[in-house]
């Protein structure tokens, strides 16, 4: 469909395009232009949500603003035995959406690991739930993918399509409303002012700019929620052995301080997400690699009382784990993960966990996507998938507006998006 739509030409009139073309897109280092460049869609944020939004609306005059240098992201490459510590769990629905917009084929599939089973249990009682997936999905519950692999694939797809003006290595300095001139009245159009001096006027300004979204702030939309008083500790791990890539298991154990999860990557590798108190997180980051590995193994085996003690000692976790394991009954792999043998260098990191939900996903000439609209706890692996769902819905709304000649930035055109994504969202979002 996007191919079909791409041929449609643009909303922006010829004279505007000409004035756009006369101006260089970059290099406003000294003097800011008095007239902004006019776009149908300006997307702030080149993360997974923002990048996915661009191919599906590529028939319009589009601009993408990203603080990072995209050429570095395009060229992203790691050796086959190294994995990034920032991974996401991609549902089959999200994967098929990426396939439809032509991005899936650009993703390095050798680094993507589907998993087919989940073992989830309680750290205090041992009560356990096992999940599998019906064979209709090929038995796949979800795909573990490095965020950078996804971003790099989306960028390659955008390059393939062309037609999107890229403003990378550009910070958003501020956002204002436009001005009225003799020619045109842009007083209701958001204008994004970039650190390079460029000014981009947007028929629709898409905020895919994360939890602290400047676009959301500009729109005066409040985001409500709370901090969990927990940090997520991530790391890339190597296990002693593994099941074949054709049948992998994800593990999650609920501890009194929060859930700890081990998600499979290809071969003997796995991705850790351990939500715990900020003090525990700081402690984990302070440990030697050997002690850190011992703590991760302990988290899937020892009792909460033992773990609490291990969080109080500065070292010697390897010996403590060995001794305590002899006196603690726990199941054998693969009911629990195979023992972790190593943590990859520089992959231990942590970030605060919070919940935020915007009061609305739309305002006049504004739409919020992904974390800008909703920031969620990672325990269910839904953050990125909800963002992909937003993108699908917004793309449908925009296509409908274009088909009927609507101004795609006005509330009347956007209300369908807000209705689909905002309404009914609360039930699944407010989990503690």
């Amino acid at each position: 469909m996007d191919k079909l739509l791409r041929r449609r030409g643009t909303y922006v009139c010829r004279s505007c395009i000409q004035s756009f073309q006369r101006q260089p897109r970059r290099g406003y280092a000294t003097a800011a232009p008095s007239q902004p460049d006019i776009f149908d869609v300006v997307c702030v944020g080149g993360g997974p949500a923002g990048l996915s939004a661009n191919p599906v609306t590529a028939h319009l005059r589009m601009a993408l603003v990203e603080a990072q240098d995209l050429s570095k992201l395009r060229a992203w490459k790691l050796p086959p035995d190294r994995y990034s510590n920032r991974c996401s769990s991609l549902t089959p629905a999200s994967a098929s959406f990426l396939d439809r917009i032509g991005a899936w084929k650009h993703i390095d599939r050798d680094r993507v690991q589907p998993y087919h089973e989940m073992q989830v249990w309680d750290g205090v009682s041992g009560a356990r739930i096992e999940f599998d997936s019906p064979p209709t999905n090929g038995g796949t519950i979800a795909y573990m993918i490095e965020n950078l692999n996804l971003i790099s694939g989306l960028l390659k797809r955008l390059d393939e399509l062309g037609g999107v003006a890229m403003y990378d290595s550009s910070r958003v300095e501020h956002i204002t409303y436009g001005e009225e001139t003799e020619e045109v009245d842009l007083r209701q159009w958001p204008v994004v002012h970039l650190s390079s001096g460029a000014q981009l006027a947007a028929r629709l300004l898409v905020g895919a700019d994360g939890a602290n979204s400047p676009v959301r702030t500009f729109a005066g939309i409040q985001a409500r929620g709370w901090d969990y008083d927990r940090h997520g500790v991530v790391a890339t791990l190597q296990l002693s052995e593994s099941t074949p890539n054709t049948f992998k298991t994800a593990y999650q154990r609920f501890l009194p301080t929060g859930p700890v999860a081990l998600l499979p990557l290809p071969g003997p590798y796995a991705s850790l997400v351990w939500s715990t108190t900020p003090q525990n997180a700081a402690h984990l980051k302070s440990l030697s690699s050997e002690d850190f590995v011992a703590m991760v193994n302990a988290a899937f085996r020892l009792s909460p009382v033992d773990l609490a003690y291990l969080h109080t000692i500065p070292s010697n976790h390897v010996d403590e784990l060995t001794w305590r394991s002899q006196h603690t009954p726990f199941p054998s792999p693969p009911t629990i993960p195979y023992p972790v043998t190593a943590v990859q260098p520089q992959t231990v990191a942590s970030f605060p966990l919070r919940l935020r939900h915007a009061d609305s996903y739309t305002a006049h000439r504004i739409a919020l996507l992904g974390d800008a609209a909703h920031t969620v706890h990672p325990l269910a692996g839904q953050g990125l998938n909800q963002g992909q769902g937003d993108v699908q819905a917004l793309a449908g709304t925009v296509a409908e507006a274009v088909q009927h000649g609507m101004d795609l930035g006005v509330i009347g055109a956007l209300q369908d998006y807000n209705g689909k994504r905002f309404m009914g969202r609360d039930g699944g979002l407010w989990s503690r």
């Binding site: 739509l5 030409g9 909303y11 009225e180 007083r187 209701q188 028929r203 009927h404 000649g405 009347g412």
Partner: protein
Amino acid sequence: MRATGQAQRALRAARPFFSSKSAAGVLPLTTSSLPLSPSPAPTLSQSTPSKPRLHSTFPASSSSVNATELSHFSSLASSWWDPHGPSRPLHQMNPLRHDFIRLCLGPSYPSPSSGPTLRYLDVGCGGGIFAESAARLPTTREVTAIDPSETILEVARQHMRGDPGLKGKLRYLNRSIETLEVPGDKDKYDVVSLFEVLEHVDHPKEFLRRLSQFVRPDGGWLVMSTIARTWISWIVTNVVAEDILGVVPKGTHDWNKYVNVEELRELFKSEGGWSEPRVMGVVYVPGCGWKVVEGSEKIGNYFFGVQRLD
């Protein structure tokens, strides 16, 4: 003819809550088949009592514009583009207009890749809800939109300035159809649209004849939407919508001017040179917007399109 096209649509919004079956056989009014006499008397319906018409404010004495309608719609100008204002049902209906035009043109509707080709004349454009949207389509070469109310056209022109994409594709003229010069055949319009206007016109038959001269021979379309004159539409538009719910400004509708689909069919058949009409009945469901309901053209709001053959 009528005052400003757009305002009126607001009115009709309400009517559809009723099931079409209960309504069909019960129309209380006998409608004569269209009287073709060019008498100054009213409309398609002979049972309609004529009201005094005040033509004095509009320059063209032969105008279809009714002064009362003109002032009514002019007073709505400021709220025209408020998506939650009195014109909300019109905004909600607008996508259906494009769907209906696509339905009429069928395979001859240009593909977006073929560039801008279609020329529109929007009669009774009001604040420009349809005119702007038509001009935005990549298949549109130009839109000429006319309305007798200068007050509302000011709103339309001002609103148009807020979208740089419309420049050069859309022009507004303060004219009635009677004062608009009929172009030569090759400059006639691919689509002449008349949305929520006919029910506000004093002499619909003469008015439509005049309009026909602007349709491109050999394939152009005259596309309109209006309300059937039934007891249901009387209750819904005049009583429920205007008095009870207040979703439509008071005084928007004169039920006596409503035109039934059979009357239009008869008219175009007797005139000759037109295709079989395409008809699409629509119903307003509060909270959901407009829905296409087969057969509902006999009850309330409907679209009507005919193609000029000769």
